[in-house]
Symmetry: C2
Subunit: 421 residues, 2 copies
């Protein structure tokens, strides 16, 4: 960390968080659950204050010409605040991961060893101007026994400051140290840089947001990062795929909720399936409002298919645009996926056992599917109760992350005087 | 990665490793086992070539004034080479972690999800001038289905080059791509820098060696790092500790093998135990050849105790030197440990259930012990069969790392046309 005045203040907040994390680690699961309930009540009791802080952000955002989509993500209303409190209660009700025994054994010399889940300690979060993420991350951290240092987008600073105050007061009232939740929003970019360099004070950093935000954190941080990533997600329609199944999966994967990372961006169609599969598929995509952009061969099947953009295959559209490419073979599809995938989720539609097993084995992504919509890659769907994010890296967590992924482990060793011979 | 000629060559080797890793991931466990056996045989068949390469390193090392300890670590002889081949056979015989099912379930809609262990892909290793690490890391990587990029200390370049050639030829002969094992020793520091920046080509980087080497890798690398760390390891002798148990554990923890990271560096003695425990403890330490350096209060118990150095409490001696401090209470001991521990291993010697449970709960280290020697922190002792290193970080792996810790996971999802509602 740097030697500036900002550096010193940020460092002292992180040290406060570190000390608070030690106290929090000793709190029982039910104390943390009670604190979360207190936070939900506190949010519900401060609707007016939160709305008025949020309104100041909205006004400033409008003045600064913030895009309508970003303004919408920034905006809170009574319903959204009620949903925040509900989400906190939902997280409070989840199974406590802390103290779970992962494995253990008794060595021949009688020493017992046991690996148990423990909180990381201090979790840092860097995210964009979405006040709901402030509450969400703080609640997930608290449920898993971690202190949290928040750094939200500057456009949400008034909302985040108010929410952080509400959360910290509720923590104190519930008998836990307020320093368990820290914000460094007031230090802008410099604060974020300090957070990324705070190795030893912060145990893990979670960036949530755009690909460029995540890339910045990954390349600048000396604190270990869990990368929750962009999804250039593929569906491959194999030679013998059932036409109705293919249409249903591709349309669901693209259009059921196009703005999220598990939505499909590219469909690869085996040449031998194209004539059989494409008419119904294209018709269903059209009625769902999807614009299809294809390579030359795909475009030969329908005048409605627009030409693929130069960077089509590496683009995460996050809207109702779908790239389409005709491939010669499963190998061709695997090659395309190896080249362009962001290793999030890919699905094959096929009736061939051999091809489905090859696809499962050879695609190097967090989630690999056969005959299912890529929209299933989700912590809620997988039964985790909550989702911290979807990890596209291979270290520590891969795919949907639940509370368990916010913990580390520690080995407890109990002897009665044994020494090594 | 940079745009230099070195950058281009290193990148092309990493790309070769990446492609080879995809082929390796499809090899069966028994193919990888057979390749390891072929490597063991190849090492045994090239004793002369390996010894002559090693001799050139030793001569150059002597000319360059390499310290005797480093020369000894660098030196190979017939016995050591035989031990290398034996170690490869031992690793070949370990249970294959690839394909193990971690968890799974059937969702209500009939979709089956299953989390299985998969290789990382490409593992990078940066280490010092110890030829045995070259063979050890390559064998562990291969057993866990990973390609490996090696960067050993320049003082061992002749030995490492020869060993890498032997390993690669054996791989080819066994029908696996030689590119599964890559070395970038010929590019010195610039090569290491390229490796640390090769995010996307290398999945995880493991530094093995001194604290300064590890710190460099941690701060310069954009590739995720597993930190295997230094051990400033503590034994705390509680107020009511049994004197014989305390002496036996402290002496074993310090002196049984002082040069390794799980050896104790500091003993903290509760004031109420000092008079009872110290005479026998100091006598046993003396006969084991241990030099004790203490704070003023400790020195009052024996003229043989030397004064503690200014940086005594943060020093990893790795020799027969032990720091000793008298503390007022368990809280005092916990405070000292929180301040100076490198979060590797700490042990309490006590008869108090309450204090042992507090110690286990409050000490934030990879391994926390009650009435046992810190020397037990070891992959072999824990039953892992092999040890990749001892992780002192909290992400992915903590404590002794076995083959399992060299794998990631992937979710396999099997449906029959399900889409999200």
């Amino acid at each position: 960390m740097t030697d500036t005045r900002t550096g010193a203040i940020v460092r002292s907040r992180l040290e406060d968080a570190r000390r608070a994390s030690r106290a929090l680690a000793l709190a029982t699961g039910s104390q943390r659950e009670a604190a979360l309930e207190a936070i939900a009540v506190a949010i519900e009791s401060d609707v007016e204050g939160i709305l008025s802080a949020n309104e100041r952000d909205i006004v400033r955002g409008r003045e600064n010409g913030l895009a309508p989509g970003l303004l919408d993500r920034l905006r809170l209303d009574e319903n959204r605040i009620a949903a925040l409190a509900e989400s906190v209660r939902h997280i409070a009700a989840l199974t406590d991961p802390v103290g779970q025994v992962v494995r253990g054994s008794r060595l021949e010399n009688g020493v017992r060893i046991e690996q148990v889940r423990v909180p990381f300690g201090v979790v840092g979060a860097i995210y964009e101007a979405r006040p709901n993420v402030t509450v969400d991350i703080a609640a997930l951290a608290l449920r898993s026994g971690n202190a949290v240092v928040l750094r939200g987008g500057s456009a949400a600073i008034e909302s985040n400051t108010r929410l952080t105050e509400v959360l910290r007061r509720a923590l104190s009232a519930a008998g836990l140290p307020a320093h368990v939740i820290q914000s460094i929003d007031d230090f802008g970019r410099e604060g974020a840089t300090e957070l990324m360099r705070a190795r030893g004070l912060v145990d893990v950093l979670i960036p949530r947001g755009s690909a460029s935000l995540i890339n910045t954190v990954v390349s600048e941080s000396t604190v270990p990062v869990i990368e929750t990533g962009a999804g250039v997600v593929h569906v491959y329609v194999d030679a013998d795929a059932d036409a109705a199944t293919a249409a249903s999966i591709v349309v669901n994967a693209k259009a059921q909720r196009p703005s999220v990372c598990n939505a499909a961006e590219t469909v690869l169609v085996h040449r031998d399936a194209a004539e059989r599969v494409l008419p119904a598929l294209l018709e269903k995509l059209r009625s769902a409002g999807v614009t299809v952009r294809g390579d030359d061969e795909a475009r030969a099947y329908s005048p409605a298919i627009e030409p693929a953009a130069a960077d089509e295959w590496s683009t995460e559209h996050l809207d109702l645009t779908l790239g389409m490419r005709i491939v010669d073979s499963l190998d061709d599809a695997l090659e395309h996926i190896a080249m362009y995938s962001t290793h999030h989720t890919e699905s094959i539609v096929t009736n061939s056992v051999r091809n489905s097993e090859r696809f499962l084995a050879e695609v190097d992504s967090a989630v690999v599917m056969v005959n299912a919509s890529t929209r299933f890659t989700d912590g809620g769907v997988f039964g985790f109760g909550a989702e911290v994010g979807i990890s596209t890296q291979k270290l520590h967590a891969r795919g949907p992350m639940g509370l368990t992924e916010l913990t580390s482990t520690k080995w407890l060793v109990r002897g009665d005087g044994q020494v090594r011979g």
